[in-house]
Amino acid sequence: MSENNPTQLEALLKTHKLTRGEYEKIQQLLGRDPNLTELGIFSVMWSEHCSYKSSKVHLKKLPTHSERVLQGPGENAGIIDIGDGYAIAFKIESHNHPSFIEPFQGAATGVGGILRDIFTMGARPIAVMDAIRFGPLDSEKNGARNRRILDGVVQGISHYGNCFGVPTVGGETVFESCYDGNPLVNVFAMGVFKHDEIFYGQATGVGNPVIYVGARTGRDGIHGASMASDVFTEASQQQRPTVQVGDPFMEKLLLEACIEAMKTGAIVGIQDMGAAGLTCSTSEMGSRAGTGIDFDLKHVPQRETGMTPYEIMLSESQERMLLVAEKGREQEIFDVFNKWGLESAVIGTVTDDGMLRVRDHGVVVAEIKNRDLADEAPLYNRPYTKPYRDVPMDGPSFTSSSVEADLLKLLASNDLCSKKWIWEQYDYMVRTNTLAGPGGDAAIVRIKETGTSIAMSLDGNGRYCYLDPREGAKLIVAECCRNLSTVGALPVSATNNLNFGNPERPEIMAQLVEGIEGLAEACKFFETPITGGNVSLYNETLGESIFPTPVVGIVGLLPTVAPIPMAFPKAGLDLVLLGGLGDSDLTHFGGTQYAKQVLGALWGLPPKLDMPLEKRVQEATREIVRANLTEAAHDLSDGGLAVALAEGTFAGVGADVDIKTDLRREFALFHEGPSRVLFATSNVAQISAIAERHQVPVVVLGKTTAGTLKIALNGTEVVHVGVDKLYHTWDRALEESLHV
């Protein structure tokens, strides 16, 4: 690489998505010009995907500590203490761009990647959740493509998770035009282990062997990390070779072999090869330990002949791991991997000079300080203005002719309808720990070794965040924590996936900044520090950005007991709304599902959140649920009170309620004000006492009945519909939209 041919250099930088300024920094760090292999190595390590160069300045605002946090951001996954000497590792990661280019493999390898992040720390994965977002299935222009992407993504997740043997226990599926050319696939995984079984991605111990294990390296996925840091154009469909191909069986073998090898005590550090493959694992492991790694590519198991150093270093072939063992104990590692039929090879050694030294048959082909790659990436404090929005503050005037018809329309919408068609393709029961699977407020997985269970939920809301990124982010944290509290769990820690558009646009950067600040404020308030996550930027197609879509995954702890259902189990119970009826006006109604599904509009602001009230509601909810004072519990969210009541009837039991309110009927039934939980109970007095102690309003709405949902407003009946009709409207809608 030299200055002799400026046009050629410009072209190379463009291919590698490096700026002129970044190139100059590379020259300065090296004290010379990089060769092509080195340029490739820098380009992936300094990509947005690996370096977080646009977001790092703001990510520092997130809370990351609590008494339970054993490992915060910066490792392969966060770790928290769950008591009894056990811990869980968990994280969320996106595979948005690959899933658009090749939905099946894109989603499958998204699952594979996050699972490796978990078991590389020593934890056995015990649960997966997915937050997936697509363009509308009925869109005239793109409906067929959106249906095909959804189908591919679901089958990819199903293929990988089922074969690997981890239950897919929950998630969310959302449809919005902004995801038309840019679906979001965010995968969360969690694993469990003992405190003394934790491993880190560190290359410690000068002279220790560096060992490559797992699948062979091929030419797939070269430049995946830099692709994931680019906007989509018409040419993106031509990038299929940069999407990796996954083999879940290989991953299962890798899991079992790694966990067994860890038990030998011969491993000192281990890291998976995910984005940026061999480059990332070597330089990060070296950088964390302050050591160097000297290795020869001729020892790297290869699937294809004639691969160049550039290709081997940048390959993102799946199901590979790098580990550092204690010198002299290599054979113990080989024996385990042989048992599982996997390849393992010593490719180099840990050195004391801090350099990543890559050789090809002895000849040095790249020589860069590990720190320069892992920690010296340029950081950008990108300019930001006011968050982008292109909708009015004032809403349209409207009057519903039938709120019953509106309710049915909401239940039949793809956002609110049953997602059973999706989750029945996932094995959500394997390992027999799933106490509450998909379809509830939160999933619950028990830890067999202790008396503790883990509740978890994934939440995002692009519409709220588009209207106000800061308030929207706070609302999703509140909602996620409320989901956990509704099943009786104490929220303890969070992971986040920040899906945003192009940070080089100041009004998009402003969405990112405000979104992060909102998350930071709420996570501090709800005492759920963020232990890791992922940032996915450049989610933009043909100049159109997605809604700012932070997705949070929060985990909570509860004692292992049979869970309380969401639906009303029998007639004759009192229906109690903790948190009261809430409030709304036209401005704060503009982000609701009613506005979207019934009015086809978006305006105003997201619902108002009173965080102290929310916290008190959640404390009271946990107390009620844990004291077994309720026979059903369901939090209010999308679609508001009417949808929550309808969902309560899906076990076949009806309800008869009369709502005393000053609100206009559309607001009373469908506003999405937070801090509300619905109970079906025979213990109204005790629940009221708990509510009073927590200074939380409580309203008795009516009773559960047989067979019919009747809702009256101030004595006037506005909904009267059989529960079978409600159920069938909701149950079959997705299949009908997919034409299956």
């Binding site: 074969c163 043997g165 989750w423 029945e424 393709q425 959500y428």
Partner: protein, 224 residues
Amino acid sequence: MKLGVVVFPGSNCDHDAYYAVTCNLGQQADFVWHDSENLNGFDAIILPGGFSYGDHLRCGAIARFSPVMRAVKKFADAGGLVAGFCNGFQILTEAHILPGALIRNKGLRYICKTVALETVSINSPFTNALKPGAVLQIPIAHGEGCYTADEATLDQLAAEDRIVFRYKENPNGSMRDIAGILSAGRNVMGMMPHPERVSDPLMPGTDGLGVFQSMLNSLAAISR
């Protein structure tokens, strides 16, 4: 009773079967690695669910050639009890220890859900603790569970009372709604549903316990 739970590299319901036998039924169990040919000391063998050797070809097509399957065949030929759940059933048909084949589900999709099963025969070591006609709620979780055989085989299975379970609502296209069958000697059973998933009071139901309890009854009767 001591059960052997066979572990192929891609087995993923091995721990669930082990847990059901040891923790829920209080019996002894041990894992048997796929390259072992030694089944000494086991009273019965379970072939658990999963993806044996990845099942890239047909489910169980490679597993039938494994060393442990040679031992399982001998064990079965000598009258030992062998139960295959899900992938275990697929392997038993590939190994020709049970007749027929399990092909892609009608609809070509993986299905995970709890289904209603009708107990067709209680004349077996795997169903003797059940009531005739009892309807059990047991989950399925498979992509290739459509039971298929020629008419003569199906007739023979029916005539010899070797169909143990039928689906009440056929989820996968299985011929004659077959969910589980017996070998001619009645000592080998394959079923696609997962009884080990509903053997714990915290799971949704305990209808799977009957299958394990039946095996215990039979073994107790033999040892008497």
